[in-house]
């Protein structure tokens, strides 16, 4: 099948950059990035099943500065994707398409995502007892 040279919609650089557009792009980027989070979840579960030795290796990896950085990124991406995902579900009901509401729910999604991330990490650090 030969590729037909059909007209394309103007791409990113043509539009003025706006808030909701950034959120939409981030929803997709975090979604793809969460593949890493999903793989880490499976690794964690396998390490638990494999026994104390494999589990302590996993703990050391997740506990290293790089491991914590990745896990923090995964947590933020997860809650961001969840919150903007709920926004998508609300749009599916036909609600919230006007500019004012779309901007407002965007702000709410970002604030809630950051809030949930911070709460999760505060709980995690509180439980570690400073170790």
């Amino acid at each position: 099948m030969a590729l037909v040279d059909r007209p394309l919609s103007p791409h990113l650089q043509v539009y003025r950059f706006i808030f909701t557009m950034m959120l939409s792009g981030l929803h997709r980027i975090t979604g793809v990035g969460l593949a890493v989070g999903a793989a880490l979840l499976v690794y964690w579960l396998i390490a638990i099943a494999a026994g104390p030795e494999a589990y302590s290796t996993a703990q050391a990896l997740f506990g290293s500065w790089l491991g914590r950085l990745v896990l923090f990124g995964v947590t933020l991406a997860l809650f961001y994707h969840l919150c903007t995902g709920v926004r998508h579900l609300l749009w599916d009901t036909g609600w919230g398409y006007d500019v004012k509401t779309a901007n407002a729910t965007g702000v709410v999604a970002v604030v809630v995502a950051v809030g949930l991330t911070l709460i999760t990490w505060i709980v995690a650090y509180a439980m570690r007892g400073g170790s």
Binding site: M1, A39, I48, M127
Partner: protein, 126 residues
């Protein structure tokens, strides 16, 4: 231009013969993931730094075991659907697109099965 009404076209299930099935399952999995992810985060954050015995005790109990299996399965189903759309959007060459979608599909099934099996091993291993 088609003379058929939108309803008639949907009933014909479009060129992919799948209709809205992909879209619908993506919504179903996202609805399920909202409570599952919140539950998992609330459960796992307090387990930071926990010993192997503590984590096993948690994961082996019925509710966490079942919900974690459910989480893993739904996560990888949702991931497969999402990555598929991204690949369809950005990979224009058909054989590359198809190959990638096959890899993503098999990868998601493999990882999902491995994760679910690990939970079963912990829960039933005694």
């Amino acid at each position: 231009m088609s003379m058929r009404s939108p309803l008639a076209r949907v009933r014909g299930l479009g060129s992919a013969k799948g209709g809205t099935h992909h879209w619908w399952v993506q919504r179903l999995t996202s609805i399920a993931l909202v409570p599952l992810v919140l539950w998992f985060a609330a459960s796992v954050a307090p387990l930071a730094g926990a010993s192997h015995a503590e984590v096993v005790a948690w994961l082996a109990s019925p509710v966490p075991a079942v919900l974690t299996i459910f989480l893993v399965v739904v996560v990888f189903h949702h991931l497969k659907l999402g990555l598929e759309v991204v690949i369809e959007d950005y990979v224009p060459v058909v054989w590359q697109r198809t190959t990638l979608i096959i890899c993503v599909t098999f990868g998601c099934i493999l990882f999902g099965a491995a994760g679910a099996f690990a939970v079963l091993q912990v829960a039933l291993g005694g």
